[in-house]
Symmetry: C2
Subunit: 230 residues, 2 copies
């Protein structure tokens, strides 16, 4: 490549946007922030950042995660590159988008609210800055596929959860209702959840048993090409 070509081609910026999914026990939600400056000032957008040429994209994603969730580890995966030529008025920007799953507990909700961020319901996403609607549609499809084949739902739930909560999560993500009995059969068959001695006495009259995810078992099953299918 000549230095002239170098001048032409090395003239693009990388950005990354994060579709952060959280589950409040009832609904799946996605985190949005308000854009602080032009273009699209005041508009809702996904948490995003530019990536410097010497930095890895994953690093920037991790920084976004830390900033917005204060969670050290979670499930994160690249969606794809969004690269329409007109995306950003400042110049050509490639947006390599990611999604992540977090436990959306009271603490996190409070923190986000204090900062003026919003967790918006999965099915109620408004019009967004840039091409973020397209990114979110893509992320929803990916989540649907993943949730069907891998027990990633457990990243979204608190450590101890009831079967009803788990079912509600699946129903929201897959956008269909399921039969309670069949759901239990399937979940218990998977051998991936452990019954605890605890109950959730708050959210219902008859206290529901609390379960937890069996991470060890999952590791073992994953190794032998495990197939979970909803």
């Amino acid at each position: 490549m000549t230095s002239e070509e170098k001048n032409i081609y090395f003239n693009v910026a990388i950005a990354t946007s994060l579709v952060l999914f959280g589950f409040d026990g009832e609904n799946l939600r996605i985190l949005f922030i308000r854009k602080k400056n032009e273009p699209f000032k005041g508009g809702l957008m996904l948490p995003s950042g530019y990536v410097s040429p010497s930095e890895s994209i994953e690093k920037v994603v991790d920084k976004l995660m830390e900033k917005y969730t204060q969670v050290s580890y979670s499930f994160t995966e690249q969606l794809k590159a969004f690269s329409k030529v007109f995306r950003n008025p400042l110049g050509r920007v490639i947006n390599v988008a990611y999604y992540a799953l977090v436990k959306l507990d009271e603490d996190l909700l409070t923190l986000s609210k204090k900062r003026g961020e919003e967790w918006i319901e999965y099915s109620q996403i408004p019009d967004l800055a840039f091409d973020h609607n397209e990114v979110i549609d893509y992320a929803k499809e990916r989540l649907k596929r993943r949730v069907k084949r891998r027990p990633i739902g457990f990243y979204l739930l608190p450590k101890y959860f009831t079967i009803a909560q788990l079912q509600k999560l699946y129903e929201t993500a897959l956008n269909r209702e399921m039969d309670k009995r069949n759901f239990r059969k399937k979940i218990f068959n998977s051998q991936l959840i452990i019954e605890t001695e605890m109950v959730d006495a708050l959210s219902s009259r008859k206290a529901a048993k609390l379960y937890m995810f069996d991470a060890d078992k999952y590791q073992k099953l994953s190794l032998k090409g495990y197939d979970f299918l909803f």
Copy 2:
């Protein structure tokens, strides 16, 4: 963004690589070219190109397709962005890789050979320049998934094909053997192939019937959230 920040961030290049799958009737193959200049001069690599800031990536992919296959339309899909910081000695380059499926007929094989390109068997991929091995591994996984759920195999076969050819394609892509009777049952059940009056008298003693893909039927089924599953 200040102009100083602009100088820092807008300093990256976009490239794209194409994993071009072809099926020769027996094996799945991927197209490789030989690198003409440093770095990695003489090494095998995927067909690739830089993307100028004013150009869409799809356009560059289309140009690659045209150059290497002379096919006007085929199945093409983005894989993801490969973006390791050290990828390319010239500077930070984001590789937004794609894969595509083509009918690998005699004409194309001859053309490629004349140009010094190689169609290498799916399971025999050697060490490649850059991170192209990683790209290919990812592409294979994607193909596996797609082939299971959508009849994209038809992009790889000639217009008229035998059931045996189709089965061979599935077996290669999914890397497992299948039962002839069960395979036929499934394929015919899908309602997506049409029997023709023709037979393939060349490749076997007892001439095999030729079939073709029912594109109209596929359109209609796709609309109602069709699910094909291997």
